[in-house]
């Protein structure tokens, strides 16, 4: 042992911040350097990985859910990272595919999007959909096709909802990963989705991951959000929603 221990490691119980790491001279002990690198590598891999939409399609098929694939105007991950605007609108072929499926009848569509973390969708996407579909059946709202969206930013959800003529849209999307949680998923919800909508029109449930909100808790919150929104016929900052206490954010 060539590094020295910090005698205040008892303080670690108060925070998950990287405190009392000990030191080797003025440097960080080797195990802590490697711990940090491991967390960073997971976050990086999560940004650069592609979502396995094939597995997602198989899962939707076995759950008897219709689905459709779309892509934003981004053609590569690099373009997606460099140009947020391209990730907020649909490419031409996706736009026409959705145009053909436009119904004017469905209450809700579900968008599953990669965003900035493929791992978030892999880890927390399916369990959320499972719980959410059960709750949705009881609500009596009609569901349009599930949309699988590649290279998507949050704003793409509104474009998709508008193209399909849906009354509302629920979007699952991978968050920008931190070191503590590379698998964090967010849900964005809009009533009356329109391409020109701003953040003020949306509600968000974030931090859905193992040490944050559980997928089941998030499904209960989303269900409550949708019911409240349909009752009041709006979404966003004006909704001033209070969530059920079981899944307090």
């Amino acid at each position: 042992m060539t590094s020295s221990h910090d005698p205040w490691s008892f303080l670690k119980r108060f925070t998950h911040a990287r405190i009392a790491l000990g030191r080797a001279g003025h440097g960080t002990p080797t195990n802590e350097v490697l711990n940090f690198r491991l967390a960073h590598s997971k976050a990086r891999d999560s940004v650069w990985s592609e979502v396995d939409f094939t597995a997602m399609r198989e899962y939707l098929q076995t759950s008897n859910l219709n689905f459709v694939d779309v892509q934003s105007r981004c053609r590569s991950k690099q373009e997606f990272l460099l140009n947020p605007d391209l990730g907020r609108s649909l490419n031409t072929s996706s736009d026409s595919v959705l145009g053909q499926k436009k119904t004017d009848q469905c209450d809700l569509i579900l968008v599953i999007a990669d965003g900035l973390s493929a791992h978030a969708v892999h880890e927390n996407g399916k369990p959320f959909v499972d719980h959410f579909m059960q709750l949705l059946k009881q609500s009596g709202l009609s569901l349009g096709p599930v949309v699988l969206a590649k290279y998507a930013r949050v704003g793409l959800g509104d474009n998709i909802g508008e193209a399909l003529g849906a009354k509302s849209v629920v979007m699952l999307i991978g968050e920008r990963p931190g070191l503590a949680s590379a698998e964090s998923l967010s849900i964005y919800y809009t009533f009356k989705p329109r391409a020109e909508n701003t953040d003020a029109c949306r509600n968000c449930i974030s931090n859905i991951h193992a040490s944050g909100i559980s997928p089941e808790g998030a499904a209960i919150m989303a269900d409550h959000l949708i019911k409240t929104s349909f009752h009041r016929q709006l979404s966003g900052v004006d909704l001033k929603i209070e969530y059920p206490s079981l899944a307090k954010k």
């Binding site: 020295s4 005698p7 008892f10 925070t15 911040a17 405190i19 790491l21 990963p177 931190g178 503590a180």
Partner: protein
């Protein structure tokens, strides 16, 4: 200007960057021959529509500019590099320089030029500690927590103090906009500083109007923080303008807790484009204009948060490094007490090695302070910065000491020796800990 700027993704995103490497250099060759004085008369953003342009113009000191008024931009670079161009001359010159002149010359400068000219400059500010003295390097202790948990914040603060950090400020980014929570955090920090007699100052980095409200409620506010940018439109999107900043400065000074320098500003390239307030001007020039705003308020601390904004503005370690050096140079030339949050997000092409490089370069350039984040991992803002250990690395390697008052405080408590090295004495750390842990809300130990 934009075409002459070294490549960065934000200017490409805005559609104003040079279309090829050759076009970029051609633009630099043209700019080198421009008279420096042209930036005093031709405004990149019209005087009539932007209060930042007005403030820069109206405060420009023509007499101070006279010694360099005959120079081209290229000659001005050479003038700055001359050995006989000393800090005494740069002090006198500063009121005659505009942010645009500095942005222009910086585009012709190599990284080593940005470092060597900045290294001539000493800008010292004072509150309870003195920051910026040659041979010293201060650190902002940043004990953020995702739910603003008081015990977690105190635990991270104790960790940082034991590593010799916190002499620039102990500054918390609050997780919410709540004024009640802000007042609670301010009282906690004030209690830590006063009960342990630490020669430093506190800050809770909420919106400036919330800090004014906290002052009205009788809260102990040391430094008043605000993010600022180089255009009126962008500042508007932050919910501020120059008159609100003036009001905040007056409110802070009215408490007489320091010595008149009460403002703390953060900036960063790309913020104007992100807020759609960029007027098709390149992000580095806009950043320099933010320093034009900062210098109106005689701040105690200013730092760029150089990699925080993401890869669509600064793509990788190379772009972040260049931006950090440009920002530090331009701000120091305007006599600002410039520090840097050397940082990156997980979707940028950068890692901790890039942070080591930029921190080292900036410390050589005489940067006033860096951030100290536990393990470099900010668990609230979800980005990586520099750590308490990194502060020790750079002080030890370049023989830099903490702020003088803080250095003495550490020695008095036996936390460091007279060379600024951390104490290995478990006994001394033990007595500090006994005192420090009394700060934690009771019932936990």
């Amino acid at each position: 200007m934009a075409k002459a700027s070294p490549l960065r993704s934000g200017d490409v995103l805005a559609g104003i960057a040079a279309k090829s490497e050759e076009e970029r250099v051609a633009a630099q060759i043209c700019m080198a021959d421009l008279p420096l004085r042209i930036f005093a008369s031709e405004h990149l953003i019209p005087y009539e529509i932007d209060e930042v342009t007005r403030a820069i113009c109206d405060s420009w000191d023509q007499d101070a500019f006279r010694p360099v008024s005959h120079l081209t931009v290229g000659q001005f670079r050479e003038h700055l590099l001359q050995e006989k161009t000393t800090d005494e001359e740069l002090v006198k010159l500063a009121p005659g320089l505009t942010p645009e002149m500095l942005a222009a010359v910086s585009k012709l400068m190599r990284n080593q030029d940005l470092i060597s000219v900045a290294a001539k400059i000493e800008v010292v500010t004072k509150f309870r500690s003195s920051v910026g003295k040659k041979g010293h390097l201060a650190i902002r202790l940043q004990p953020n927590h995702p739910t603003d948990n008081i015990k977690a914040i105190i635990a991270a603060t104790i960790d940082g103090l034991l590593y010799g950090c916190g002499d620039a400020v102990i500054g918390i980014n609050p997780a919410t906009d709540s004024i009640d929570r802000m007042t609670e955090l301010l009282k906690t920090l004030d209690h830590i500083i006063s009960s342990m007699d630490i020669p430093t100052q506190s800050c809770v980095l909420g919106h400036v109007t919330n800090q004014i409200e906290a002052i009205n409620r009788g809260c102990p506010v040391d430094l008043i923080f605000q993010s600022i940018a180089g255009t009126e439109k962008t500042n508007q999107s932050y919910g501020i303008n120059l008159s609100i900043l003036r009001e905040a400065m007056d409110a802070g000074q009215s408490l007489s807790r320091g010595q008149g320098q009460v403002m703390y500003f953060e900036t960063g390239q790309g913020s104007c484009l992100s807020a759609r307030g960029h007027h098709n001007v390149d992000q580095q020039t806009l950043e320099a204009r933010a320093y034009g705003v900062a210098r109106l308020f005689n701040p105690f601390l200013v730092n760029t948060v150089v990699g925080f904004i993401g890869p669509e503005y600064l793509y990788d370690g190379k772009q972040i490094t260049r931006a950090g050096l440009e920002d530090h140079f331009c701000a120091k030339m305007l006599r600002l007490p410039m520090g840097c949050d050397v940082c990156y997000t997980n979707h940028a092409q950068a890692d901790q090695d890039d942070m080591d490089n930029l921190m080292t370069l900036l410390a050589v350039a005489g940067c006033n302070y860096f951030m100290g984040v536990p393990g470099a991992d900010d668990i609230m803002l979800n980005y990586q910065s520099t750590s308490f250990h990194d502060a020790q690395y750079i002080r030890e390697t370049l023989r830099l000491k903490p702020a003088p008052e803080f250095d003495l405080w550490m020695q008095r408590l036996g936390l460091s020796d007279n060379q600024g090295r951390l104490s290995y004495s478990k006994q001394l750390q033990g007595s500090f800990l006994t005192q420090a842990t009394k700060l934690l809300p009771s019932g936990d130990l």
